[in-house]
Amino acid sequence: MTMEKRVQKSKVNVTLELAIFVTIVITLIPIIWIAILAFLPNKSIIGTSFDFSFWLGNFRTLADPGQNFLRQIFNSLTITFGTVILTLVIGSGSGYSLSKLKPPKWATTPVFILASFLPIVPPITLVPGIYVTLTNLNLLGSVTGLVLVNTVFNLPFAILMIKSYFDQIPDELREAAIVDGASERRVFFSVLLPLAKPGLGAVAIYVAIMAWNEFLMGLIMTTGGGAAPLTVGIASLVQDYEITFGQMSASGFVAAIPIIILTAVASRQIVSGLTAGAVKS
């Protein structure tokens, strides 16, 4: 390789960098704009001119005990944590079994069929059946019901992801522990599960984002108001007769910013989660 080529390669391509910069700005405009409006009073938002006066009133109104906002955040947090934990518990057991325990074919076939079929089914088509199921279980409109439903939609991805993480751990490790006299349970909890931790972390972050963002099931399986998750609360602000854009922006801001910060900080895990998740589904 010649000197000349190396110099040429390290030269900054101005057009390219400019194009990327513009794309970054376009990507950020909707996010920045909602962040600005969240801190503006309604009259400056509705006015036709640009009027930026910092104001915390939107958040104060939302946090008012008479509003459902805080209750909905609490619901969403509960649904998110519940879904992540349940998904990890079921997913790690099943994923481990698929990867290391060589289950008989009659047991794995339905698992693979279900795991690859569910992701292609539009959730709206399952609404009547899930509605009936939750009614029969007496869980309609409850946070527990939404935890179960969210878990179901995330399990196919989680189980395949976790299986692939366990696949990366050599079989010899398990066999050595068994030969040393450790029980199956012990091998799973003390040897293999700790090794799969980074993978489980990626799955947890991905599932948390999905559960926090879920809307359709929250919309149909709850009666709204204090029983609903945050996304449904935001939607009801959009559909109010008198749209209060400030509160709408503030609630959207609260729903989006934690996730974006999480993404910025844990970008590597999320990237691996998103790419793997999408391939699997």
Binding site: L16, P30, S49, T125, E172, M248, S267
Partner: protein, 305 residues
């Protein structure tokens, strides 16, 4: 493999069957969960689609009506419209996100200044809740207070009313979808680009190929399997799309953005014609299954070649 056999023999057949039992038990919660919340609802869907179900005083009354629900589909102008809208929406969104995501990944990959910033920021839209995405874009496109109109008016131009016109609303939801989901394509292609052996590209450069030729002759062919997978994924995603349109346009104006999921929701929840909604749902599930099935078999054929 040998090790497993040895340990199985030394520990006796009991341990082997113990593992077998454990392996099945560990899969059980998954199967039970999906049976209750996915297989049963699908069964309900099939059952409902062959029945005429009426709600009287909160009670459901069903009667078998054969294929009547399915026969209704071609005669329902709203369903036909939804299918057309969905097809156009999917085609545009899949192509546009694929092109934008691939171009973005290639740009970021050869960037020096913005590489790490862009790699991070370009992912952000994909993690924002679809509901919030529609709020964000409402704040930009709204005819009375949106950012676009504020800019237009401060420039002394006529304000736009895109969300109120058929073409404008449709283009708007496509733009929103492209903004929201290009990151997914970007992520994959970027990962794929980083997996390409640099020596192959160097060899091409030494042989006198310019960047355009490298992309066309080497990079794109290598990325093709990845692109194919994402194309299928994006097709499924766009046919499943619901949240953004539900809030941004409610399927309007005049059904211009009435995607199939929105139409099905309306028949289920507002019209309460369960039989017909189920029949329509079943057709969509079948079509999606067919798409994935074809894609899967094509991939297998390619691999075995």
């Amino acid at each position: 493999m040998k090790n497993a056999a040895v340990s199985g023999r030394t520990r006796g057949s009991f341990s082997l069957s113990g593992r077998r039992a454990t392996s099945v038990v560990a899969l059980l919660p998954f199967v039970v969960f999906l049976a209750i919340f996915a297989v049963y609802p699908l069964y309900e869907l099939v059952r409902l689609s062959f029945q005429e179900t009426e709600v009287l005083d909160g009670e459901f009354f069903s009667a078998f009506n054969g294929l009547d629900n399915f026969k209704k589909i071609p005669n329902d102008p709203l369903a036909v419209n939804s299918i057309k809208v969905t097809l156009l929406f999917s085609t545009l969104c899949v192509i546009l996100t694929l092109v934008a995501g691939t171009a973005g990944a290639m740009m970021v990959n050869s960037s020096r200044i913005f590489k790490s910033a862009a790699r991070n920021i370009f992912v952000w839209p994909a993690v924002v809740a679809p509901v919030v995405v529609s709020v964000m874009w409402l704040l930009i496109l709204d005819p009375t207070m949106g950012l676009v109109n504020k800019i237009l008016e401060s420039l002394g131009r006529e304000p736009q009313i895109w969300l109120n016109s058929k073409a404008g609303a449709f283009i708007s939801v496509v733009v929103v979808d492209v903004w929201h989901w290009t990151p997914v394509v970007f992520l994959f292609i970027y990962a794929g680009l980083n997996g390409i052996n640099q020596e192959i590209l160097e060899a091409g450069r030494v042989d006198g190929a310019n960047e355009g030729q490298l992309i066309r002759r080497i990079i794109l062919p290598i990325l093709l399997p990845t692109i194919a997978v994402i194309a299928v994924l994006r097709t499924i995603m766009s046919i499943k799309a619901f949240d953004e349109m539900y809030l941004l346009t409610k399927g309007g104006p005049e059904g211009a953005t009435s995607l199939i999921s929105l139409h099905i929701r309306e028949i289920f929840v507002d019209v309460l014609d369960f039989g017909y909604a189920s029949a329509l749902s079943l057709c969509i599930v079948a079509i999606l299954g067919l798409i994935v099935g074809i894609a899967y078999s094509l991939r297998r054929k390619n691999r075995s070649r």
